[in-house]
């Protein structure tokens, strides 16, 4: 029915990863972050780094929302003058990684056990002190979370996570689909 076409959202919120190519200028991050806070969208994580071309940066933003919110986020991002391309990364087609550095309490009695867990996860120990080790783990969110869960009983002193970055598999650059939502077709009726 048509009545359902109005209103703020259509309910089914899920996680989305979007890739945003921007001009690397002062203030561009605050423009992007400001747009999210001003319009009441939530950012789960945002990662910014240099893109393949000099003068440009690429942001990977993870947010939770339904299709309409996602569409608005993309369109509003597009309106920012310094935003070149916006594209959603399809979870089925993307490679996603996060890096975490985890400082864990460790001494002679349990260090070997930690090393074992680290090996199983193909993570690595990047620093050892008499009372701590620092574990570096790279992977998707599930892997990082699992690692954290397993290390927790030893006593986690500090965690630093990069937030997620993502890229589409295959030859397509992230951004080809940037404009596909411009003339979104109606679904009501």
């Amino acid at each position: 029915m048509f009545g359902g076409a109005f209103g703020a959202t259509d309910g089914k919120a899920r996680e989305h990863t979007i890739s945003v190519l921007v001009e690397n200028r002062p203030g561009v991050l605050s423009r992007v972050a400001g747009m999210f806070s001003r319009r009441g969208f939530n950012i789960d994580s945002i990662v910014v780094g240099a893109a393949e071309e000099p003068g440009f940066s690429r942001m990977t933003i993870v947010l939770v929302g339904d299709e309409r919110e996602l569409e608005q986020v993309q369109k509003q991002l597009h309106k920012l003058i310094e935003v070149i391309k916006v594209s959603e990364l399809d979870p089925a087609e993307m490679v996603e990684r996060e890096l975490a550095l985890i400082k864990v309490a460790a001494d002679r009695t349990n260090r070997a056990e930690i090393v074992q867990i680290v090996d199983i996860f193909r993570a690595s120990i990047v620093d050892v002190s008499p009372h701590t080790v620092i574990v570096e783990v790279t992977g998707d969110v599930k892997k990082v979370e699992a690692m954290v869960d397993l290390l927790r009983p030893f006593g986690i002193k500090e965690i630093v996570r990069t937030g997620r970055v993502g890229v589409l598999r295959g030859p397509k650059p992230s951004g080809v689909h940037g404009d596909r939502r411009r003339g979104l077709q109606a679904v009501g009726g």
Binding site: F6, G27, R31, I84
Partner: protein, 558 residues
């Protein structure tokens, strides 16, 4: 060449005529360069006034308005004006000084992070980091302000950039890889829209400010006449279609005409042109347009489409370009049954008020302004009851004639915007319709009007209240008039103190004579209309209510 001179040359290259501003420490270099530049500067008495004058200039002409303020408080005083322009998509270029580059970030005297502050209320802003950047930045600022969906752009110039040397070369083109507005509508969507319009039994054209921004008024009229479409306008859309045209239903929404609101609640095909389904138009979204089968939404801003309602036929593009393509695809049509229904609503629920025998009715003043000017004057308004009455009873005939703060609803807008409009269009009569509350919010600009003999005619509908606040308190707060009762100074004496001709009208019979006297005077005039104190503005859709459930759809006949 020095940075300050480069700015002047750039402004000249952009065809700037007036600069509305106020000098101060950080813009001394810029003002020095303006001194003998040939550009006309207008000294405002408050930077908010400068921003609104630039805005009024832009609304009256479609050309960008320019304002200039110093750093810190000068810049922050512009903010309300920029937000006003932003909400209504008005091209304004604001130039601010800032502290010298070496002092930025050190909390220097009169330092404010104005690019940070104005981030959410400008289309874009720039901090100029070297004089070399100035020509490119000014070129980009004007380009961004005036193209696509227009809007205000701020350029912040540190003081020492004004005296830095550069080789001036004004760029012809802009390099903005992320900025490419879509002007031409998608042909398949245009065909879908044509089909929906051809099959419509109860169509309605819903026209917003975007139609005026794109200069689509002739196309709006052409398609309305070809397809026999009733036309309802938003506050911002007034003038996009002649208010005296038989197919005009006037304004829709919270204080729209009953027949426009009934038409929208009963239409089957809704054609939105440069309108954004604002809450003041739709009322409660879940009750909005319950019988609609097809929504066609034409807008240059893709983000407007699907923001508040989902369109069945979204068309991203310039209203004028899209409409002129669409007109060729739609067949001529008549809708006698639909019009019979609408005419019945018009008869049953006309826009009306109880005329005053002893009191001056505020609506009567608006109606009289319409009659004496023949609907050809530019009317600038403030915000409140008087604004709604002006929108209802001043049936604007053409575009860029109704200058009002629609989105932000900025009290204090009317007088400075009217001054900007009059300077922009000296050939046009300009009336400012204000209230006793709004008038005082930028009353200092009477000095600007007096100094330049700007012939704005200010009609203050003085009811001794913040009338719209009082009306809401009457309906929704058990008549507890908390701070809405308002003492005002004697506006006649105040105006005379500024050297401005002033009159007071207390009798209904004197309204026209006063207006005529004001029109005949070569210079600004203030008329203090002492109007009925507790008049209500009807019809009214309570906030969050349905357009079908208006209070007072018959005006005073309950």
């Amino acid at each position: 060449m020095l940075g300050a001179q480069a700015l002047v040359e750039a402004l000249k290259a952009e065809g700037v005529e007036y600069i509305f501003g106020h000098p101060g420490g950080a813009v001394l270099h810029l003002y020095d360069a303006l001194y003998d530049s040939g550009l006309k500067t207008v000294l405002c008495r408050h930077e908010q006034g400068a921003a609104h004058m630039a805005d009024g200039y832009a609304r009256a002409t479609g050309r960008p308005g320019v304002c200039l303020a110093t750093s810190g408080p000068g810049a922050t005083n512009l903010v309300t004006g920029l937000a006003t322009a932003f909400m209504d998509s008005i091209p304004v270029v604001a130039i601010t000084g800032n502290v010298p580059r070496a002092l930025i970030g050190r909390d220097a005297f009169q330092e404010a992070d104005i690019t940070g502050i104005t981030l959410p209320v400008t289309k874009h802003n720039f901090l100029v980091r070297s004089a070399r950047e100035l020509p490119r930045v000014i070129r980009a600022a004007f380009h961004i302000a005036t193209t696509g969906r227009p809007g205000p752009v701020l350029v912040d110039i540190p003081k020492d950039v004004g005296v830095e040397e550069l080789d001036f070369d004004y760029p012809e083109t802009v390099d903005l890889p992320g900025y490419k507005p879509t002007y031409k509508g998608h042909i398949r969507q245009i065909m879908a829209a044509a089909k929906a319009i051809a099959e419509a039994r109860r169509p309605l054209l819903y026209v917003g400010g975007g139609a005026i921004a794109s200069g689509a008024h002739e196309e709006v009229r052409a398609i309305a006449e070809k397809c026999d479409l009733p036309v309802a306008m938003t506050l911002m859309g007034l003038g996009a279609f002649p208010g005296n045209h038989p197919q005009s239903l006037g304004m829709l929404g919270m204080h729209g005409t009953a027949y426009a609101n009934y038409a929208i609640q009963n239409c089957d095909v809704l054609i939105a042109v440069g309108a954004r389904f604002d809450d003041r138009v739709t009322g409660a979204l879940d009750t909005f347009a319950p019988r609609v089968e097809q929504i066609i939404h034409i807008d240059i801003d893709p983000a407007e489409i699907g923001k508040n309602v989902i369109a069945h036929v979204p068309i991203v593009g310039d209203c004028r370009t899209v409409l002129s393509a669409l007109i060729k695809k739609v067949p001529e049509k008549k809708h006698p049954e639909w019009w019979a229904q609408i005419d019945e609503w018009r008869r049953e629920y006309p826009l009306q008020y109880r005329p005053g025998d002893t009191e001056v009715k505020p609506q009567a003043v608006c109606e009289a302004i319409y009659e004496v000017t023949g609907g050809e004057a530019i009317v600038a308004t403030d915000v409140g009851q008087h604004q709604m009455w002006a929108a209802q009873y001043y049936k604007v005939h053409g575009p860029r004639q109704f200058v009002t703060s629609g989105g932000l609803g900025t009290m204090g807008f009317g007088l400075p915007a009217g001054i900007g409009a009059k300077l922009a269009r000296p050939d046009k009569e300009v009336f400012v319709v204000s209230g006793d509350g709004s008038f005082q919010m930028n009353i200092q600009e009477l000095a600007t009007a007096a100094e330049h003999n700007v012939a704005v005619k200010v009609a203050v509908l003085n009811n001794g209240y913040l009338g719209m606040v009082r009306q809401w308190q009457e309906f929704f707060y058990q008549r507890r008039y908390s701070d809405s009762r308002m003492w005002s100074p004697d506006f006649v004496t105040i105006a005379q103190g500024y050297g401005i001709k002033a009159m007071r009208v207390t009798e209904p019979g004197d309204v026209r004579a006063a207006l005529e006297e004001a029109r005949a005077h070569d210079g600004p005039v203030v008329i203090d209309f002492q109007v009925a104190r507790e008049e209500n503005c009807f019809p009214m859709v309570p906030a969050g209510g349905s357009n079908s459930d208006m209070l007072g759809p018959k005006g005073w006949i309950e």
